[in-house]
């Protein structure tokens, strides 16, 4: 029983982290129809910015977290305004250029900051007891903050004017334009938002484990699995997908074999793509 509880708590925390990464990715695809393969690099940017603020500027940790979020958001917004905005109708160009930009950003980080391992202290040191099981405070924070952000995003999309404009743009660029919504502005907001989610995820990942200039790649691949499972572009699908994949991974890793980390989500992904390409909540292709 104790073992089951432990696995469940671990799965909840990991899934919450995965959801953060996947949300930004799916938001961009859902609204602009753009596959942002530079998403992983934004994770790296967030982590390195936070580390710079904390270690070099010597500012307190909460400010470092904020710095990471803002830096990744800025890079993401610039990426949209500077490059993607002009080519977003051309799928091939978008995919190729975001792949290239992802590598460019990652290597820029490597050249400027070196290849060393990245660490941040735990955001909330110590541990708490949940149902008799000792859990790191850090994990509790990851879980709670992830859900606060998920709910905030839901509220934003469903109950505000901006959210309605985002939904309208995601349904039809042209229709949105006809009722006076500027798609470029909406897209910029979603890219900013997505970048901030990625930046936060980067900071959490670094504080949770550790980071480095290549750290963005694995979470990004994982978020592919999640968003494809949930349906590309569906927020609710991504959250569910994150929990399904996070749980299955935690269970296989702790019950079957540790070496299975990373393999299971990808196999699930391939199965989903072959059986039901539009995912659980995705719109079938017209």
């Amino acid at each position: 029983m104790v073992d089951v509880l432990n696995i469940a708590l671990n799965a909840a925390a990991i899934s919450a982290l995965y959801a953060l990464v996947a949300l930004g990715f799916t938001l961009i695809f859902g609204v602009g129809g753009v596959l942002n393969l530079a998403h992983g690099a934004l994770i790296t940017v967030g982590a390195f910015a936070a580390q710079q603020v904390f270690r070099v500027l010597g500012l307190p940790l909460p400010l470092a977290v904020l710095g990471g979020i803002l830096a990744a958001g800025t890079v993401s917004g610039l990426l949209y305004l500077g490059v993607v905005r002009f080519i977003q109708d051309q799928t091939v160009k978008v995919i190729l250029s975001t792949v290239i930009i992802g590598f460019l950003v990652r290597h820029a980080v490597r050249i400027v900051f070196g290849t060393g391992t990245l660490t941040l202290p735990q955001l909330f040191p110590g541990s708490a007891g949940i149902l008799g099981e000792s859990v790191q405070n850090n994990m509790v924070f990851v879980f709670c903050s992830s859900w606060v952000l998920i709910l905030a995003l839901f509220a934003l999309v469903n109950y505000t004017t901006l959210g309605k404009a985002i939904l309208a743009t995601s349904m039809s660029d042209r229709g949105a334009a006809l009722v006076g919504i500027d798609a470029t502005r909406i897209n910029t907001y979603t890219w900013l938002l997505a970048g901030m989610f990625a930046g936060f995820a980067g900071v959490l990942l670094t504080s949770f484990r550790s980071g480095g200039w290549r750290m963005g790649l694995d979470p990004m691949v994982l978020s592919f699995a999640i968003v494809v499972l949930g349906g590309l572009g569906s927020i609710r699908g991504s959250v569910l997908g994150a929990y399904i994949i996070g749980t299955i991974e935690t269970v296989t890793v702790s019950v079957v074999d540790t070496r299975l980390t990373g393999v299971v989500p990808l196999l699930i992904l391939i199965a989903v793509l072959v059986v039901r390409p539009q995912g659980l909540f995705g719109r079938a292709e017209a």
């Binding site: 596959l35 490059v83 109708d89 460019l104 290597h107 050249i111 502005r185 592919f224 494809v228």
Partner: protein, 416 residues
């Protein structure tokens, strides 16, 4: 249009000898066209001179340069294999390393762990890569665009994960394991080498390397000829048509699925062959960094993008460009030393310069060096107009529509 008997061997699905006019796709080439196909146009002469240059380069190269050049030839082969499927049919693959890896690892395991001669293990590698091509190609019929890009990106990552999983032992298939992240330390027997285990024995290290280079060069020329023949044939026209409008291809009574699978299989075979031959040279080895990592796939894409997508020759042109930038950066590195602000050597900047050039090319000159060359040629020499995708009628209509919406000024507080 149609020249009497339609030579619809594999291309027609519905009725065998229906009097349908498929235009250029179904036409059997006349003698005059065949003559045109091999006529020494200026562009072809430039191409032949380029190939002659590639054949001459090793004569002046040092030993280390020679090894790098061999690696470059295989990079070009990888690039051509990508171009067949992604450049022509528009089925964007982000993980062609999957095929290189399958070919290279299969022949390595067969040779090192089962003692099979390269003469047999290389074809085995090609076979496994072809199976891999079918594995990707068949599901690729159902998924397209972003989804396909994701699957192909993930295929080599899964393969690498499996190699890590079975790094020390895989029963029956690889008794000594697949060596995980580091890859094989022992290289398989070379096809051309100075040692006794080599398939073709040549005395002396330099002579053996030269042998390897020219064997690879011959492979490059053969593959180039085959791919040019396929893509310039009626099948090639269908590939391009699939890229432009798949529904139109179906409407013309051709089955896009068949052609897509053909493209994927052909591409996998070439990629697998190149991967398999590569590990049997001094330049290559069955290591993830050489055959499987995401950067390998991306580098291949970059070469084709630089050279020109959908041209086959683009991969070679991109490869030459890659070599030149490496040379320039190397010279700068020894001349300048460190970059002032960043405080690091220029060599350490790799691959940023190439990535930047590729990014600019993707956005501003999507037809690459060859497209640019075509336009210059048309403008200054032949005077013909070159069709430009950027100003295709449909693009112009959409652009005008957008502009009109903007001009209406409905976006109240718009900044532009």
């Amino acid at each position: 249009m149609s020249t009497g008997d339609s030579s619809a061997d594999t291309t027609m699905d519905a009725s065998g000898d229906a009097p349908l006019d498929f235009g250029a796709v179904e036409k059997r080439p006349s003698l005059a066209e065949l003559r045109d196909a091999v006529a020494p146009t200026p562009k072809r002469i430039v191409g032949l001179v380029g190939l002659a240059g590639l054949a001459a380069v090793p004569l002046a190269a040092s030993l280390t340069d020679l090894i790098e050049l061999i690696g470059l030839l295989y990079l070009m082969l990888f690039a051509m294999s990508w171009d067949v499927v992604s450049g022509y049919t528009g089925q964007l693959s982000l993980g062609h390393a999957f095929f290189f890896g399958l070919g290279g690892y299969t022949t390595t395991v067969a040779n090192v762990q089962h003692g099979i001669s390269p003469a047999l293990s290389i074809p085995l590698g090609v076979l496994v890569a072809v199976v891999g091509g079918l594995l990707i190609g068949v599901p690729a019929l159902r998924i397209r665009g972003p989804y396909l890009a994701l699957v192909t990106l993930i295929a080599p990552i899964i393969l690498l994960q499996l190699f890590v999983l079975f790094s020390s032992r895989l029963p029956v298939l690889a008794p000594a394991g697949l060596k995980g992240q580091n890859g094989f330390a022992t290289s398989p027997a070379p096809v051309v080498g100075s040692g006794s285990e080599a398939l073709i024995h040549i005395e002396g290290f330099r002579a053996a390397l030269m042998g390897q280079y020219y064997l690879s060069f011959v492979l490059l020329v053969v593959v180039l000829a085959v791919l040019l023949a396929v893509t310039r044939s009626s099948a090639g026209s269908v590939f391009t048509a699939i890229r432009e409008d798949e529904r139109a291809v179906s409407a013309a009574g051709l089955n896009p699925a068949k052609f897509k699978i053909f493209a994927f299989t052909l591409s996998a075979a070439v990629g697998g062959l190149a991967g398999a031959m590569f590990v049997h040279t001094t330049a290559g080895g069955a290591q993830p960094s050489q055959l499987l990592e995401v950067l390998v796939s991306v580098r291949v894409i970059i070469l084709v993008v630089l050279g020109g997508m959908g041209t086959i020759v683009g991969g070679i042109v991109g490869g030459v460009f890659f070599m030149l930038t490496t040379l320039v950066l190397g010279a700068l590195d020894s001349a300048v030393g460190t970059v002032p602000v960043l405080d690091t050597g220029i060599a350490n900047l790799r691959p940023v310069p190439l990535l930047s050039i590729a990014l600019v090319t993707v956005i501003f000159a999507p037809r690459g060096i060859l497209g640019w060359f075509d336009r210059l040629w048309a403008e200054h020499v032949s005077g013909e107009a070159v069709p430009d995708r950027e100003t295709a009628p449909l693009v112009l209509v959409v652009r005008r529509y957008r502009q009109q919406i903007r001009d209406l000024g409905v976006f109240g507080d718009e900044e532009r």
